[in-house]
């Protein structure tokens, strides 16, 4: 158990003890601003994560944001398993922002990210369920005047000697008066719920239109606002003319905020119409000089110079300088927008001494504190309620709380409840992208064809520099998220060096699903394929030889190859590519089968995906997250790129920032390795291997090695032309 987990365990017990000490009726657990405990004590809330009603209802208070990954089901399963309640009676409720709900590992804040909701909450929620079960059993034992060890809990009842039996609801009030056990014992033996593909508790509301996302928040008198934003990053309003906008029926106010000029109206449409009629003179500043073409040139120059060393085994530069034959390649990936289907938005009701925020946040404590600073209130005067998130992917864990701050500024200016909505173009152009990266690699092989030295130089912006996370996660100038996946590579290479340059520029960057791995896996797994082919070896067998000391990635790799029929004849014109990568405590291997269509575009027909994520909660959720990561990664592999010219983002909507659609979606098969290892993540690890698996399959089928994402028909064609030309020579 880590030190952090130990500390949090103590804190949890302290909280629980307070709960059992009679404070329950005093409503110590801040469930929701609209709800309080019933004064008769019929609700039993042994800790901050659980409430049992006299009607047998079991409400699990979930401190993680639901953004598709299924936490409103997986986290209740952890509690219900130990509580031994009837799963049919379980429901979820999003937690408020309070210290009890802080992340169990990331420090004093409520945050959802890093694919570690299950990993970080496993122990705390299991203990929460176990503590409540012991209290219910103790209550029953007291009532029956028998020893507790003669009683047991099962499926929502406590059973005692003879045919004694009481449902949890009947015991709740009595249990609430008992002390919380200091060291609740987890139940031994087989699991009832964990490992079963239970249906998601949030599915019904998501298919009948009643699930409330941030954009759906409404109420009497709530105004809508859209913000005219500067055309370049860092731009400021010099002056604006609002008369025409104010003449649009429904437009109430036009106000300047840091993000631009906000048009506030009694509906989204009049606000948008008003915004179109604003005349704004912008102070563009240095931002107007930014272009991705120039950034690329700068990165290429940097890639020729030594960077900070993130990993050094042996002496790769020396070995490489001494050999005649080196394999060298440059890899590139672009800026990427998260593009959640629900554009960013935030509702704010700011009063003199209080502020209510309702939004889909992944980073509630930071957003609440940022809101308090803007509003001039104390953090505890700000209530932040988490709605459903129409996709998060890291974008709703904004290191600068951008979408919350701007909404509070608008609310402060208009003094009315207001909801700021970004249009798709706002969402795509207002920044926070996966960084653009330029990678230079050099390697040489030994006399058996295996890698003797590997030198990997990475150039790109740090997403943590200048944020509150910098002090904790940037060490010796190296942002761990810039080199993750590369600096901790598992392949057995005696001389290995990974270096990093972290240039700065005006383009705002942020974590994007699978963070550094979204880039490093593509580069490393593609380049390793190049080495295998240079050695004349099968890329799958080559990886096996390099992973012989690592049974977990070996097993997913071998299983993927087997399930995909690696090496067996394929349809004419089809090729297979393989990739394996560790991220967020899980190991994933994928085999992609691709062909080229008549226009030279990649068609991905089938993806076989194998994951070892340690102990599992809900296998169907794991499958869904693998399908999800693959689709998300495929959009990046085939289409995704945010480019800037004269400081302007050139993409704005789904016509020029394309996503995978139904007609191009491959068949995906997911296999889960049975494991007793500690739980790993599932939300992100499915993504990293897909781009290299597709790139490697493209090479297998066409001979084209595309080292730059996205793999567009133009790039593939150019590479094929180059190959033809080089053969002629």
């Amino acid at each position: 158990m880590s030190e952090v987990t130990k500390i949090n365990r103590r804190q949890f017990m302290k909280t629980s003890a307070m709960a059992g000490g009679g404070l329950l009726l005093a409503c110590h657990i801040p469930l929701s601003r609209r709800e309080a405990f019933s004064a008769d004590g019929s609700n039993f809330a042994p800790n901050a994560f659980l409430r049992i009603g006299s009607d047998d209802s079991v409400t699990v208070i979930v401190n993680k944001s639901e953004m598709g990954q299924g936490v409103y089901t997986s986290l209740p399963m952890l509690i219900a398993e130990e509580l031994c309640c009837d799963w049919k009676n379980v429901s979820y409720q999003p937690s408020p922002v309070a210290p009890e709900y802080n992340h169990a590992q990331f420090g004093p804040m409520m945050v959802t990210g890093g694919s570690n909701s299950v990993h970080s909450e496993w122990e705390r929620l299991s203990l929460a369920g176990a503590a409540a079960r012991e209290m219910l059993i103790a209550a029953a034992a007291q009532q029956w005047q028998v020893e507790p060890f003669l009683c047991r809990a099962e499926n929502g009842f406590v059973y005692g000697p003879g045919d004694k039996k009481l449902n949890f609801g009947k015991l709740a009030a009595k249990a609430a008066k008992l002390p919380v056990p200091n060291k609740p014992k987890l139940k031994p033996g087989a699991k009832n719920l964990l490992g079963k593909p239970l249906h998601r508790l949030d599915s019904p509301v998501k298919i009948n239109g009643t699930a409330i996302f941030g954009i759906d928040v409404s109420g009497p008198g709530v105004l809508n606002a859209v913000i005219a934003r500067p055309p370049v990053f860092g731009g400021k309003v010099r002056s604006f003319e609002a008369a025409k906008a104010l003449a649009v029926p429904g437009v109430k106010q036009v106000v300047a905020v840091d993000a631009g000029v906000a048009v506030v109206a009694d509906g989204f449409w009049p606000a948008l119409k008003g915004r179109d009629l604003l005349k704004i003179v912008w102070e563009e500043g240095e931002g107007a000089k930014v272009s991705t073409a120039a950034i690329r040139e700068e990165y290429a120059v940097l890639a020729a110079t030594p960077g900070l060393v993130a990993r050094r085994d042996g002496d790769a530069p020396k070995v490489l300088s001494a050999v005649k034959q080196r394999i060298e390649a440059d890899y590139e990936v672009p800026y990427l927008a998260h593009a959640p289907m629900e554009p960013l938005n935030c509702f704010v009701d700011l009063k003199k001494n209080s502020c209510l925020i309702r939004t889909g946040s992944q980073s509630q404590t930071a957003d609440r504190n940022a809101a308090a600073r803007v509003a001039g209130l104390k953090p505890e005067q700000v209530t932040l309620e988490t709605t459903f998130l129409g996709g998060g992917f890291g974008r709703r864990a904004s290191t600068g709380s951008d979408f919350v701050v701007e909404a509070v500024q608008v609310a402060k200016a208009v003094r009315m409840p207001v909801k700021v909505i970004r249009t798709r173009e706002d969402d795509m152009r207002a920044g926070y992208y996966r960084p653009m990266w330029f990678d230079r690699l050099s390697a040489c092989l030994d006399n058996k064809g295996m890698p003797l030295a590997w030198h990997h130089r990475i150039v790109g912006q740090s997403i943590l520099a200048g944020t509150p996370f910098e002090s904790g996660m940037v060490k010796g100038g190296i942002d761990d998220t810039s080199v993750e996946g590369a600096a901790n590579m598992l392949y057995a290479i005696p001389n290995l060096q990974v270096e990093l340059h972290s240039p700065r520029n005006a383009v705002p960057v942020l974590w994007w699903r699978s963070v550094g791995h979204s880039h490093t896996a593509f580069v490393m797994e593609s380049f390793l394929d190049e080495l295998a082919h240079a050695a004349g070896k099968d890329p799958y067998q080559y990886r096996r030889l390099l992973l012989s000391k690592h049974p977990r990635p070996m097993k997913v790799l071998e299983t993927a190859a087997k399930k995909a029929g690696w090496g067996k004849p394929l349809r004419k014109g089809h090729g297979q590519g393989i990739a394996v990568h560790e991220s967020f405590g899980s190991f994933v291997a994928q085999v992609a089968e691709v062909s080229l269509d008549s226009k030279g575009a990649i068609m991905v027909h089938r993806v076989v995906c194998v994951i070892d994520c340690g102990r599992i909660v809900n296998p169907d959720t794991i499958k869904a997250q693998m399908e999800s990561g693959i689709t998300f990664g495929l959009s990046a592999a085939l289409y995704g790129a945010i480019t800037l010219k004269n400081g302007r983002v050139e993409q704005g909507n789904f016509h020029n920032y394309q996503l995978v659609r139904m007609e191009v979606m491959p068949k995906v098969e997911v296999h889960i390795i049975s494991s007793v290892e500690p739980p790993g993540g599932v939300g992100e690890p499915g993504l990293p291997p897909i781009a290299p698996a597709v790139a490697n399959a493209l090479f297998a089928v066409s001979g084209a090695r595309v080292r730059s994402l996205p793999m567009t028909p133009e790039k593939i064609k150019a590479e094929l032309v180059r190959l033809t030309d080089s053969k002629k020579i």
Binding site: E66, M67, G68, Q69, P197, H199, R200, D202, S203, P204, V205, K206, I207, N208, G209, T210, A211, I212, F213, I215, D216, S218, N224, P249, G267, F268, W269, P270, P340, M341, E342, P343, F388, L389, G390, G391, G392, F393, I421, T423, R424, D620, A624, E627, S628, G629, I630, T631, F632, N653, F654, H655, L659, V660, R661, M662, E663, M665, K667, V668
Partner: protein, 152 residues
């Protein structure tokens, strides 16, 4: 005053006729199940049926639906085979695009009760899902097609 039917009920609204139907449904009629995703008919999150046909409500001026029948996600009964299949296949992830996906799928089955994969590609490729639920949607539509003929 613009008058039209929504989910079988006559409704009237006093808004500028160029207001997209989506915002009238969401803001004036309190039906927030239809979602805003792109504002340009590119993502399908706002899909509703107008006189039985799937349309993008984010680019449909409400003036154009005068006298017409609009069906939204809120008007699809719980026992609809598509909804049931969506649950049994556990399609939803973040769920934001699903109302639009379901409206497109219901329209498909109304037109073609036994769609092929190519029919599904053609009917559903206008509905984006960032979470990647396409595979499950395909399965769910095939499942629902089996039941559709008995219970359309």
């Amino acid at each position: 005053m613009i008058v039209f039917h929504v989910n079988g009920e006559k409704r009237q609204v006093d808004v500028s006729p160029d207001t997209p139907l989506l915002w009238v449904l969401r803001e004036n009629l309190g039906l927030s199940g239809s979602k805003f995703g792109c504002g340009a008919g590119l993502c399908g999150a706002c899909t509703v049926h107008i006189d039985g046909k799937p349309e993008r409500s984010c680019i449909t001026p409400v003036g154009d639906v005068q006298g017409k029948k609009v069906l939204t996600i809120e008007g699809i009964p719980e026992n609809n085979p598509i909804k049931k299949a969506w649950l049994s296949r556990e399609v939803s992830q973040c769920g934001y695009c699903q109302p639009g996906q379901i409206m497109s799928a219901v329209a498909l089955l109304k037109k073609k009760p036994k769609p092929t994969d190519a029919d599904i590609d053609s009917a559903m490729s206008g509905n984006l899902c960032r979470c990647g639920t396409y595979g499950r949607i395909r399965h769910a539509i095939h499942d629902a097609a089996g039941e559709w003929e008995d219970n359309p």
